[in-house]
């Protein structure tokens, strides 16, 4: 018998006796894990070079202090060796490697009835590295990355314990949600007659329709609760969920204290137990926002928020709501596919609690995005001049773009002119359209540069609405103006956009206007779209989803217990030390198997 093993065996026997004395053999570790692959810690698989007899196999094992298990298939050329106590698999692999009777040796890998979403696999499941990181490459079309196998949230094993969060309503307070998305619709919150469209819209005049015209909220919702195992798209952290759609950010992704706080209050009063806030802003302390989180705390609501994407320290530059200090708040940083802090992620040794996957996250989209870049050549670009077109718009010879007095620069525009040019765009079927104009402008006081829109075609300065109008934009100097405008109310087959240079009778003229870019970004709502996004906004719903799993599994928990399970049951990452308060990455299995230390132990002696 190998002397190394003998020594170890004696020690191991002693340890074993102690464990048995204390009746704690249950505490032994059964499996080891390396690079995401588990194997039995006291066993190896041996492949023999020749067809050894049973007794020869036994002797081979005995040479190492191990025991050969009988293989059920007597003709098999491999066998299982049980190692002596306290001898590691790694040590055994090295020693067996030189045995003349053994062709190869390997760990006895663990294969589980892993809870993959069923009954029908979700086709994009393998793109979800945060769920199951196998080092898969992910591409946005412009860049491709891949990470380290095993660097994930151990969700597959966690799903053996819990995959249904439908008893815990999670409010996604965001840009709204495309609640008709085929991968989400079954998991939307049932708001009954009060909220028939699964939530509320607090943007603008408000309504009962929280449809997402940006895409951010729908992406967040998919991470949290895309239906698992429906054969469509992706799998959410929660296979079954109750997702409340609360729209507080507009189509451009912006909101205010007023909209956000109204959304939080709606979530609280309508029974949400977790609020996902993948949003943030810097600046001074916001007392009204702070009060809303107090109300959430009083209602035993957990609030999960994003750390921010400025690659900065929140201890130095606070980001709200991350920097609020409520005990019911969890602030989440983002990890990349290598389980490093993502390059863009904020951090904070006290303000940021934990990290979760946030880069290259594939999830539900609210629709198909498009872009129209208008050619800025008058004739070839389909631009039309008005009947009283005078000095004329043309293509700038000395500068790019559509110019009010061609060629741009060097020839001042004329006095008492009304120069117009316009173009019609077919936006049929589009759900959202946003116009972005960039122009170089030099217009005197008393002269005007106008941009108008008309939904039904024709000269937009005859009957249309103003996009932009200004005088005295920059006397004698050229400035660059960037104009954003929501075209959505004018969507149709003949959406017409026009520009006008209107000059005074006494004008001395100036350079005028040169349009250098005209872009229309479109979104066509669609129920079967997916896309990759990155940010702490994506990390947040991973944390919120795991919180929902934990709470659904342990319904007697308070927000304190759920937060503890996430932070204390997380996976320690050295790269997070000093960057988050816990130094942990979200670990779904660790959170679900975390057991709080028993409290309130007391004794009575009679």
């Amino acid at each position: 018998m190998n002397s190394y093993f003998l020594r170890r065996s004696v020690l191991a026997s002693t340890l074993c006796s102690l464990l048995l004395t204390s009746n704690l053999a249950l505490a032994a570790t059964a499996f080891q894990s390396e690079q995401g692959r588990q194997y039995a810690n006291a066993e190896i698989i041996v492949k023999y070079k020749t067809n050894l007899s049973s007794s020869q196999r036994m002797q081979t094992a005995a040479n190492y202090g191990a025991k050969a298990e009988e293989n059920q298939n007597e003709h098999s050329d491999w066998g299982l060796h049980r190692l002596p106590p306290n001898v590691t698999v790694a040590q055994a692999l090295k020693l067996y490697a030189n045995d003349p009777n053994i062709a190869s040796v390997q760990p006895n890998y663990v294969y589980q009835s892993t809870a993959l979403p069923g009954p029908t696999p979700d086709p994009a499941y393998n793109q979800q590295w945060a769920v199951h990181n196998i080092g898969q490459p992910l591409s946005t079309g412009t860049s491709t990355t891949q990470g380290i196998a095993g660097a994930d949230m151990r969700l597959e094993a966690a799903w053996n314990i819990q995959n249904d969060c439908s008893s815990v309503t999670v409010a996604v307070v965001d840009t709204g949600i495309n609640y008709n998305a085929s991968d989400l619709t079954a998991n939307m919150w049932n708001g009954g007659a009060t909220a028939p469209l699964h939530g509320w819209n607090f943007v603008g005049a408000g309504s009962n329709d929280p449809m997402d015209y940006n895409g951010h909220g729908t992406h967040v919702a998919g991470i949290l609760g895309a239906v698992g195992g429906n054969g469509i798209g992706v799998t959410g952290v929660c296979w079954k969920a109750s997702i409340m759609a609360v729209r507080v950010l507009d189509a451009s992704g912006s909101g205010t204290t007023s909209t956000v706080v109204q959304g939080i209050d709606f979530a609280i009063t309508h029974g949400a137990k977790i609020i996902n806030l993948s949003l943030g802003g810097s600046g001074p302390f916001d007392p009204v926002f702070n009060d809303a989180l107090n109300r959430a705390q009083a209602a035993n609501v957990l609030v999960v928020v994003a750390a921010g994407n400025a690659a900065s320290n929140n201890e130095v530059t606070p980001v709200w709501p991350c920097n609020f200090t409520h005990p019911n708040l969890i602030c989440v940083a983002a990890l990349d596919q290598n389980y490093n802090l993502a390059s863009y992620s904020n951090w904070g040794s006290t303000s940021v609690d934990i990290a979760a996957p946030g880069s290259y996250i594939y999830s539900t989209s609210n629709g198909i995005e498009g872009q129209i870049n208008a050619a800025l050549t008058p004739a070839a670009g389909g631009w039309l001049g008005s009947s009283n077109h005078a000095a004329g718009w043309g293509y700038g010879l000395n500068g790019p773009g559509l110019t009010s007095s061609a060629p741009w620069a060097g020839i001042p525009y004329a006095a008492n002119s009304d120069d117009r040019i316009y173009k019609t765009f077919n936006l049929s079927g589009v759900s959202v359209a946003r116009l972005t104009l960039t122009a170089a402008v030099s217009v005197n006081t008393g002269d005007y540069f106008n941009a108008n829109i008309r939904a039904v075609g024709g000269d937009p300065f005859v009957a249309g609405a103003a996009i932009f109008s200004s005088s005295n934009l920059n006397t004698g100097l050229v400035s660059v103006k960037s104009i954003a405008y929501d075209l959505t109310p004018n969507i149709g087959p003949a959406c017409t956009i026009g520009f006008q240079l209107l000059t005074a009778p006494s004008s001395t003229g100036n350079y005028g206007v040169a349009m250098t870019a005209l872009r229309i970004d479109t979104l066509t709502l669609d129920n079967n779209s997916y896309k990759i996004m990155s940010g702490t906004s994506m990390a947040t719903p991973y944390a919120a989803g795991v919180a929902a799993l934990v709470w659904a599994h342990n319904p007697r928990y308070t927000y304190t217990h759920v937060k503890n399970a996430l932070t204390k049951g997380g996976r320690p990452l050295s790269v997070l030390t000093g960057l988050t308060s816990s130094g942990m990455a979200i670990d779904a299995l660790g959170a679900l198997t975390y057991i709080h230390p028993t409290q309130g132990v007391s004794v009575r002696v009679q």
């Binding site: 102690l18 464990l19 004395t21 204390s22 009746n23 704690l24 053999a25 249950l26 505490a27 032994a28 570790t29 059964a30 499996f31 080891q32 894990s33 390396e34 690079q35 995401g36 588990q38 663990v110 589980q112 009835s113 809870a115 380290i148 095993g150 660097a151 094993a157 966690a158 799903w159 053996n160 314990i161 389980y339 599994h553 342990n554 319904p555 007697r556 928990y557 217990h561 996976r571 320690p572 299995l589 660790g590 679900l592 198997t593 057991i595 709080h596 230390p597 028993t598 409290q599 309130g600 132990v601 007391s602 004794v603 009575r604 002696v605 009679q606």
Partner: protein, 131 residues
Amino acid sequence: MMFPTLKMPLILCTALLLVACGGGGGGGGGTAPAATVHQVTLNWEENLEADVNMPGGGYKIAISGQPIIDVAFPAPPSITLTLPSGSYNAIVTAYSPINPNTGMSYLNNTIAMASVANFSRPSTSITIDIP
């Protein structure tokens, strides 16, 4: 990349061993007076984890110098025992049947067996003084 796994049960094991083996048992040398025996009741707050409050779950009670006591579900969170004079330390540790490496219950998985049960960190140690 290698991540730490399952360190907690070993920590727990050590903690329970220390409590189970150290201290207690009735004092120092010399001629011991006749030991008196008292009935002791230990209570604790029930853990809120669903997996502790299910078959295969429960609590381990470690009292210095005494065998570990298993209070398996569905027993209430209390034990009564007799102890001779002396000073003892006691801790309570909750456990569940869920393997923290796989998420599988050992009750439903003959491969995983009982060696993979999941333990909490021990409670705060409490002192029991028996006159």
